[in-house]
């Protein structure tokens, strides 16, 4: 049988190259989608873990501040704990490189004397003296030096907050050699210099602890926690990576789910291709069965062919996925850096694990797609297989049962979601999956409905549309695959459009000031990126200033998670308009804020189960403080959660400090853009970013678009697969209905007429795919907007369907279906009338 398999595959390849290529392309695109997302997901986590490994090396535990920073006096206390062999203090902050847009250094201030012995990296021979004595000495990675064109000895102007400093490239240290995925922006300098030039004396961010030999880590961790008494937390490197993984979980899951839809659509192509191949080879299978082949052998033969098809698709899909991942590194990396404040992706790597995943996905997907037709073929007895297929063959009318199965699947998914809601977050995806399963199963019924449309008057496009139901098996698979892709496209488009509409409305409601001031390093350095007092003083002198809103911000552990806590002036006149409360009176909420309460963002409220009246437990340097929650406000800035307190409360929790942001309210009629220019000129010696309300709004929306760049790529890949499905199915139809086409030719139909019939069939598939996809998309949009977003990201979105974009997409889909029909239509139109004499019907 094995020898027969090889010959059969070779023959099949020769006989139907176009079908094979299309099916392989479908698998390749599906595998490419899944693989690209997995590469990006793993690279994102690898970047964080790599940086941990490159810096902390063999550190067993890390002591971290609840609010991101520590008092360096904790070092002595940590060293005094039994079982601690060594403790290395680290100062860390992301400094902006002046004059280079979006360029930054992940600065690490370390005790270089200790690091020389214990760190996994080494300074060049004789470099230690220079590092300790030369002002601004910093070691950068060779990769960054090459990218920026830096050489040893070059001066680098940097800033942290509004404070500027000049660093000097002292050495090139290849931290990526220690951990290939570690950030190339890591830069190491002496801790004392870092504190003096850019930070604050006495303030560090991390203590790496090395345990003495033979000491139990769990016990040491417990002893350290007891000694620190809640002033800091103690984590293993694995726990730190797991924490980052948790932060990215929803983002990663969403992309993975979207990529799996492409794989599902690819599976349809395999199904259609195998089905067509088996229909063509019934007689061959009948002969095999008649001469003694068992059902199992026939099943194995068909599945082995499908597995080979899957392997070919995987071979093409792996480089495709790799290229797609590379093309999207910048967008995903930007999202991870800006929204999740984690390390950006440095390099995409394709390890053996991911290759195995791709092979398993491609081969298993192809075999799964072939399973149905393969089982059908193996179940038929030899007599049935050998019976010639004629025009009299009965059209299987199983459309009613299929539709019922789809509706049952949808009902089951809805029931599962209702049962699991609140207990298992991915139940939202079960509901989405139910929609995606129901949509293609409705395709046969929809096509039969189309066949009932008015009687066409000519053999042409309309006739092609109306007679689509004649071979339901082929046309329904194509329409179903297209419907799934359209449902995904429409659902995600509505979700993104609604999200964008909600963000715009939110910006309109809350972005009230005329001019906003922050620093180039603020987005990632937060509490370390402060505005100097002289900057604040200059802002106060702005002509026409009616209100100056100052904001302090810190990343802090609260309610069991890392949140962004901001301190603002609760007494600012009209300040209640800065937040949009989900419920309640904003003025009363501000009054409560001044009294020491907190407002929590919607995502935090959902994830931590907070509501007005409950208490938010914030871990500051002085331990835990429970703040009363005065209200819940709308926020799309961070899915991790955010909270607002009055500046006085903030100072009570974290001590006095400078603000990181300022907002200027100008007198009515004042020219904000002119004020921006004036302030930029006046503060040119400081590293500040000054934007008008309009500019900031534009930047926020640009960031929003960047977040959805990958989503758009996945949508496009799904549609390309579906278009390939239309071509494949029409080619199958052209082949299966060769006899019918020959009959039309014998009865006098011209080639253009047959071309039009097939164009009509393509458009018919497009119409059914579009109609079902629109219905599925509407359902999917509701699931994404009303269920997935609140469950995973915590924010509620108002439905704002972008009708213009959806209309454009509908036209594009019909055009794609028509374009996908051109080649099959050309093939069909070339059918000679003489084919009829071969009794091929």
């Amino acid at each position: 049988m094995r020898r027969y398999l090889v010959r059969a595959i070779a023959k099949e390849l020769r006989a139907s190259r176009a079908l094979f290529i299309l099916a392989v392309a479908g698998v390749a695109l599906g595998v490419g989608s899944v693989l690209s997302i997995q590469i990006l997901n793993r690279s994102a986590l690898g970047a964080f873990a790599g940086s941990v490994r490159a810096l902390s090396g063999e550190a067993d535990l890390s002591v971290l501040g609840w609010a991101g920073f520590l008092d360096e006096r904790l070092l002595d206390e940590v060293l005094s704990v039994r079982g601690v062999a060594a403790a290395i203090p680290l100062w860390r902050a992301e400094a902006a490189v002046d004059g280079r847009t979006d360029a930054s250094l992940e600065l690490v201030g370390a005790d270089l004397l200790q690091a020389a012995v214990r760190a996994p990296w080494r300074l060049p021979e004789g470099g230690l003296g220079d590092a300790l004595t030369r002002r601004g000495w910093v070691a950068v990675t060779p990769a960054l030096a090459a990218e920026m064109g830096w050489r040893v000895g070059d001066r680098i102007p940097v800033s942290l907050g509004s404070r500027r400093a000049t660093l000097v490239v002292g050495a090139l240290v290849d931290l990526q050699r220690i951990a290939p995925l570690a950030s190339r922006r890591l830069a190491v300098m002496d801790i004392a210099q870092a504190q003096a030039l850019l930070g604050e004396r006495g303030r560090i961010h991390q203590l790496d602890v090395r345990a003495a030999e033979g000491v139990s880590l769990a016990e040491l961790r417990a002893r350290l926690e007891a000694r620190l008494g809640g002033r800091a937390r103690v984590l293993t490197p694995e726990q730190r990576t797991a924490e980052a993984e948790g932060l990215l979980a929803a983002f990663r899951l969403n992309l993975t789910a979207l990529s799996l839809v492409s794989l599902l659509v690819g599976g349809f192509l395999v199904y259609a291709s195998v089905r067509a191949s088996l229909a063509r080879r019934r007689e061959e299978l009948g002969v095999l069965r008649a001469v003694g082949a068992t059902r199992a052998q026939v099943l194995r033969l068909v599945l082995a062919e499908a597995a080979l098809l899957g392997a070919a698709g995987t071979a093409a899909g792996i480089p495709l996925g790799w290229l797609a991942a590379r093309a999207n590194v910048a967008a995903v990396s930007g999202t991870i850096r800006n929204l999740y404040l984690l390390e950006g992706i440095e390099a995409v790597t394709l390890g053996p694990g991911l290759v195995l995943l791709a092979v398993a996905t491609g081969v298993a997907g192809a075999v799964a797609g072939a399973l149905g037709p393969a089982i059908d073929a193996s179940r038929e007895d030899p007599r049935a297989l050998l019976a010639s297929i004629t025009l009299e063959e009965r059209v299987r009318a199983r459309s009613g049962r299929t539709l019922a199965a789809g509706l049952a699947a949808l009902a089951a998914a809805a029931a599962a979601h209702v049962a699991l809601r609140g207990r298992w977050a991915p139940s939202a995806f079960v509901l989405a999956l139910g929609v995606l399963v129901a949509v293609p199963l409705a395709a046969p019924a929809a096509i039969r409905l189309l066949a009932r449309a008015g009687r066409p008057h000519r053999l042409g496009v309309a006739y092609g549309v109306r007679t689509l139901g004649a071979r339901l098996g082929s046309s329904a698979v194509a329409a179903g695959a297209l419907a799934v892709a359209v449902a995904m496209l429409a659902g995600v488009t509505v979700m993104v459009g609604s999200f964008r509409g909600s963000v715009e409305r939110w910006l309109d409601a809350t972005l009230r000031a005329d001019v906003y001031v922050s620093t180039p390093s603020w987005r990632r350095a937060r509490s370390d990126a402060t505005l100097a007092p002289e900057v604040i003083a200059r802002l106060r002198q702005a002509p026409g200033l009616v209100g100056l809103d100052l904001l302090r911000q810190v990343q802090v552990q609260a309610a069991g998670r890392r949140i962004s806590l901001s301190g603002l002036d609760g007494a600012l006149p009209g300040g209640e308009r800065r937040v949009e409360l989900l419920a309640g009176d904003p003025a009363a909420a501000m009054a409560a804020l001044r009294g020491g309460a907190a407002l929590v963002s919607e995502p935090l409220a959902r994830k931590a189960g907070l509501a007005p009246g409950s208490r938010l437990a914030v871990r500051g340097p002085g331990g835990e403080t429970a703040l009363p929650v005065a209200g819940v406000y709308r926020d799309y800035g961070t899915e991790g959660g955010a909270a607002l307190v009055d500046l006085s409360t903030f100072a009570r929790l974290f001590g006095p400090g400078a603000p990181s942001n300022a907002a200027l309210y100008l007198a009515p009629g004042a020219d904000a853009e002119a004020e921006v220019l004036r302030l930029r000129a006046a503060l040119r010696d400081h590293a500040v970013q000054i934007r008008s309300n309009r500019t900031l709004r534009g930047e926020v929306l640009a960031l929003f678009e960047q977040t959805f760049a990958v989503t758009r790529l996945l949508q496009a890949m799904g549609l390309v697969i579906a278009a390939a499905g239309v071509t494949l199915s029409l080619l199958v139809l052209a082949r299966e209905r060769r006899g019918e086409l020959a009959l039309y030719r014998a009865l006098g139909a011209t080639r253009p007429q047959l071309f039009a019939v097939f164009l009509g069939r393509g458009l018919g598939i497009g119409l059914v795919g579009l109609a079902l996809g629109a219905a599925g998309g509407a359902g999917l949009a509701r699931v994404l907007v009303d269920v997935v977003n609140p469950a995973f990201f915590g924010w509620s979105i108002a439905l704002h369907p972008p009708w213009g974009a959806l209309g454009g997409q509908a036209l594009a889909i019909l055009a794609a279906a028509a374009a996908a029909s051109l080649y099959p239509a050309l093939t069909a139109s070339r059918t000679p009338a003489a084919e009829l004499s071969r009794d091929a019907l």
């Binding site: 009299e392 008057h457 007679t467 009959l743 009865l747 006098g748 139909a749 003489a834």
Partner: protein, 225 residues
């Protein structure tokens, strides 16, 4: 009277995959005048069906000439040949070749759809033909529900819908039992005569051939004198 179709020294050769040359027809000549019924008989492989395909213009001779309604088919482009067939030739096949997704009446109407004829008038004609063959009650039925003889009667109505000048029938009773075959042949010849169509039909049956005005016998591609 001008013949409807004329064969002049027609030869048709096929090349096999192995390179050998098969001669289906060898220098066949003859003509079918308007309204005349001609039967073509001969053993399997004698070239009977090939002759019909050449008459319909769906195959082309290797040498010689086929003239349909005064127009040499070889000189016509595919489009013209197709139109000539559509407008003046009716075809009946051994295996009926009805479209399973269409009703009885819609199957009869297919030539009108192909030609773009006004459908209302064509439907009236289709009903009349179905009545003639005794299937008016089955007009709305699916064709799969019909017996073989009924299917061939539907195919006959389809062939005659547009009043062809030439009716070509390739073993129209070859797939039917004797009784059904008799009935189909009665209808075919009767309708053709009523419509004034010339008929060229292929058959193995001497009895059926005897009912024609003229019979041609083919033997290994040659027309016997």
């Amino acid at each position: 009277m001008e013949p409807v179709v004329t064969f002049r020294e027609v030869t048709r050769e096929y090349r096999t995959a192995g390179g050998a040359v098969l001669r289906a027809l060898r220098g066949v000549s003859g003509e079918v005048p308007a309204g005349r019924i001609v039967a073509v008989t001969g053993r399997s492989g004698s070239g009977k069906s090939t002759l019909l395909h050449l008459a319909a213009g769906i195959d082309a001779p290797t040498s010689g000439e086929v003239v349909l309604l005064g127009r040499p088919l070889a000189a016509l482009p595919d489009r013209e040949r197709t139109r000539l067939r559509r407008d003046h030739v009716g075809l009946v096949f051994q295996f009926f070749h009805l479209l399973p997704h269409l009703s009885v009446e819609d199957n009869v109407l297919v030539p009108a759809l192909v030609a773009g004829d006004p459908l209302r008038e064509a439907a009236v004609r289709a009903r009349a033909l179905l009545e003639r063959v005794g299937l008016e009650e089955r007009a709305g039925d699916a064709v799969q529900k019909l017996s073989g003889g009924e299917m061939q009667r539907v195919a006959l109505c389809r062939a005659l819908l547009r009043r062809p000048r030439l009716l070509l029938a390739d073993e129209p009773t070859g797939n039917l039992d004797e009784e059904s075959g008799e009935r189909v042949m009665d209808l075919l010849l009767g309708l053709a005569r009523d419509e004034g169509s010339a008929v060229l039909f292929v058959t193995h049956s001497r009895e059926l051939a005897a009912r024609a005005d003229e019979a041609w016998t083919l033997h290994s591609g040659l027309r016997e004198p």
